[in-house]
């Protein structure tokens, strides 16, 4: 470590103002603070500070995403071998899935961090850590067949137009990763829904193949099937045509966006988020409550089988759980008041199920529900603040 520190100290002057490489100051600073905790000491206010910083907070979210990521990799491989009708061992399945998923992660990070570094240098600021999480979220919420260039484009769009033009991390109104997905959803709808985008058929170095071979083959997600299903029977199936149980949807070996399918894996990460307090448990709980409330309401007035779907099935389908744990809880775009968080989460859950069931154009309602509530988060906060102000005014009036 000492040698590394010495090396940094030696090259540091070149990156400082007036140095030869001062145009890369932010990048150098980013790497330096990544490696060593800055030894800048407090000059005003409290003399001691809590050990937590934004790097730690973001790091915890990335760790929390890892179960969903690993499961996603496995599931991508699993769906592939299911579709081509080959038996494959655990490691082969995972390996194939990892090969398929890794490029998305690389593209998302390279494009996003590249833009972040450039803008930070342009503004003369430190590099903000927000994209560490966003860069991991984007690959997890897209279908496996999304072309890489689209991911690059969507990432660039989201980082520049959703975050940076508002001032950077901490100032954005919309969830950056979700806006990347929304961009893809509206710009390239054919690549974001339907029944051919969820199962990857590719040949990586001789692993896997490009043709589906099984007889009954539908690549649609359960929600996609539900949205187009008419008649009195709603039987959700996996890609081989086998009906899916609730347990299947909970474990997540079903077609869907890369990281969203397994509620179990999401829950593992979610427990870490709740335990560490990085995500608000109030939002998570109220999203599920809101979803259950709407589902029950729909059950009561049900006129078709989809409306009769019980809430615990809704919870495990599509991006509901992933959105509840990782998207709705983004502290920047969520409600920031404690009372507001309850309302914010509840309405997300409620709207997600409403969109999902009653609007066949959008098989998945979670993305739109969260983005919609991002707009209203500030309004909810406003109401909570006004309530506090009114209380204070009332107290003053009584005192007089």
């Amino acid at each position: 470590m000492k040698a590394l520190r010495k090396l940094l100290d030696k090259i540091k002057p070149a990156f400082e103002k007036g140095g030869k490489l001062s145009m890369f100051h932010s990048v150098f600073d980013g790497f330096e603070t990544f490696l060593f905790v800055p030894n800048r000491t407090s000059q005003s206010g409290t003399h001691i500070h809590d050990s937590i910083d934004s790097k730690r907070a973001m790091f915890v979210v990335v760790i929390a995403l890892i179960p969903a990521l690993l499961f996603g990799m496995f599931n991508v491989g699993y769906q592939h071998y299911l579709a081509i009708g080959q038996a494959a061992g655990f490691f082969q399945t995972f390996f194939w899935g990892a090969l398929a998923v890794l490029p998305y992660i690389v593209v998302s990070y390279v494009v996003g961090l590249g833009i972040e570094f450039t803008i930070a240098q342009f503004r003369g600021e430190e590099i903000h850590e927000g994209f560490l999480v966003t860069g991991m979220l984007i690959p997890l919420i897209i279908p496996i067949n999304t072309p890489l260039w689209m991911v690059a484009l969507a990432t660039a769009f989201a980082v520049i137009f959703v975050k940076e033009i508002f001032g950077g991390t901490g100032y954005n109104i919309f969830n950056v990763a979700l806006m990347a997905r929304a961009f893809l959803f509206f710009a390239y709808p054919s690549k974001m829904s339907g029944d051919s985008v969820w199962v990857s058929l590719k040949d990586y170095f001789g692993f896997g193949q490009e043709q589906a071979t099984i007889d009954v083959y539908t690549g649609a997600t359960p929600l996609g099937q539900a949205a187009i299903a008419g008649g009195d029977n709603l039987v959700l199936t996996g890609i081989t045509g086998e009906p899916l149980s609730w347990w299947d949807t909970f474990l997540g070996l079903i077609p869907g966006s890369i990281g969203e399918t397994s509620v179990l894996a999401i829950l593992l990460g979610g427990i870490l988020l709740i335990y560490t307090g990085i995500a608000s448990w109030k939002i998570i709980l109220s999203v599920f409550a809101g979803g259950a409330f709407m589902a029950i309401l729909l059950n009561i007035f049900a006129v078709n089988p989809y409306m009769e779907m019980p809430f615990w099935e809704h919870w495990c389908l599509g991006g509901f759980a992933f959105g509840a744990f990782f998207m709705a809880t983004d502290p920047v775009t969520a409600s920031r008041t404690e009372k507001g968080k309850w309302i914010y989460g509840f309405l997300i859950g409620l709207l997600a199920i409403l969109y999902r069931v009653l609007n066949p154009a959008y098989p998945e309602g979670m993305m739109l529900a969260i983005l919609f509530m991002n707009i209203f988060a500030k309004f909810i906060d406003y109401l909570v603040v006004q309530n506090n102000i009114k209380k204070r005014l009332k107290r003053a009036r009584i005192a007089q």
Binding site: V37, T46, H47, P331, V385, N388, A396
Partner: protein, 457 residues
Amino acid sequence: MTDVIKIKKGLDISLKGGAFPEVQSASYTENYALCPTDFHGLIPRVLVKEGEQVLAGTPLVADKNKPEILFVSPLSGVVSAVKRGEKRRLLAIEIRADQKNAALSYPVRNPLDMDGVKVKEALLEAGLWPYIKRRPYDVIANPRVEPKAIFISAFDTAPLAPDYAFILKGQGHDFQTGLNALTKLTKGKVHLSIPAGSGSGELKNAQNVEIHRFEGPHPAGNVGVQINHIDPINKGETVWTVNALDVLFIGRFFNKGRVDFSRLVALTGPEVYEPRYYRCVAGIQLSALLKGNVHKEIPLRYISGNALTGTRVEMDDYLGAYDSQVTVLHEGTDVHEFAGWVMPRLNMFSMSKTYFTGLVQKICPRKQFDADTRILGGERALIMSGEYEKVFPMDILPEKLVRACITRDLEKMEELGIYEVAPEDFALCEYVCTSKVEVQKQVRTALDLLKAENGEE
């Protein structure tokens, strides 16, 4: 006797170096000073010249805007220097003390037999007025405005804070006389907040005041929190606050007929060899307490006050006027911690459960932590929400108020309750802030702005 008021939100930061309950005299020094910079917002007018003889109680400085507020010499001697800084800003009036300890003499009086105006005049004349502060604005009280009530906090919950009950022991008479004097200054109540379960007779048996018992983590001992729970300040109202240890000065003045600024000061912090209490006089040069008693081989930060709200000083600076504590920390400029943000950091304190502080404390409840003055992260826009709320036990939305302060939105600040708070109330918010925002500085700037805007002196 009222019910115990339980404070739930807050944080006790456990640090190494709490003061043992034993008292030693500070080593002899002849260097003392009155530092006008200790009194926020004061525009001083110097009343003495270099070389002039002064007694304990001789006025050295007056408030330019309210000349009746005097600041006096803590003991007798010669004015050795009038120190000025940039733009001739008055930094200190240094006194070379003689050993005579002579003082201006006043009649011994019982404040209960006096009327309020006389008590006020006596306090102003004796230079004790600056120990009475006011909210809003957290500055020296304006003697021309009568307060709705007076609040006294008789305990300190800040990190390594001195034990007030220990310091007050045996001084019950002076303490009670001081309280009696304060009751004469308001038509409202005088509220004394004491820790629940305190066995201190001096506190429990205080007369003529309303006693409130508080329980809970820091900032339960902050007078601002106590006001908010007892009788919150509304717009247009003024309350005064006095530190219980400064009440002693007032009491002694009436009992003895002279000023007596002797204090017990807790010398605390991880870098102090023998943290304990020192007997000394207000305005003492800190080297008298510190020399030979701190780890010298590493860069150190000396703080007059506690680690959250204290003032940064050097060894040859002077004890702050309101302070009964000195903290010494490792400065930390020499530390290059590798990838601290992924490390377990078992020996560092954090409120966040992304570290294992809570677990460590559960396993060894007496565990005390190291701390240095590094900021431990980069400054960012406010990202995490709900952090401030966890350590801010008032009926105020702290983050919204801080945002209003940052954007200098006067109207919003007023609506959100700025008049009830002092920068010290936000010290914990600043401590726990993931984005490392300088919260206290923002609140102080906002209060100054508001005070100027409202045309208050």
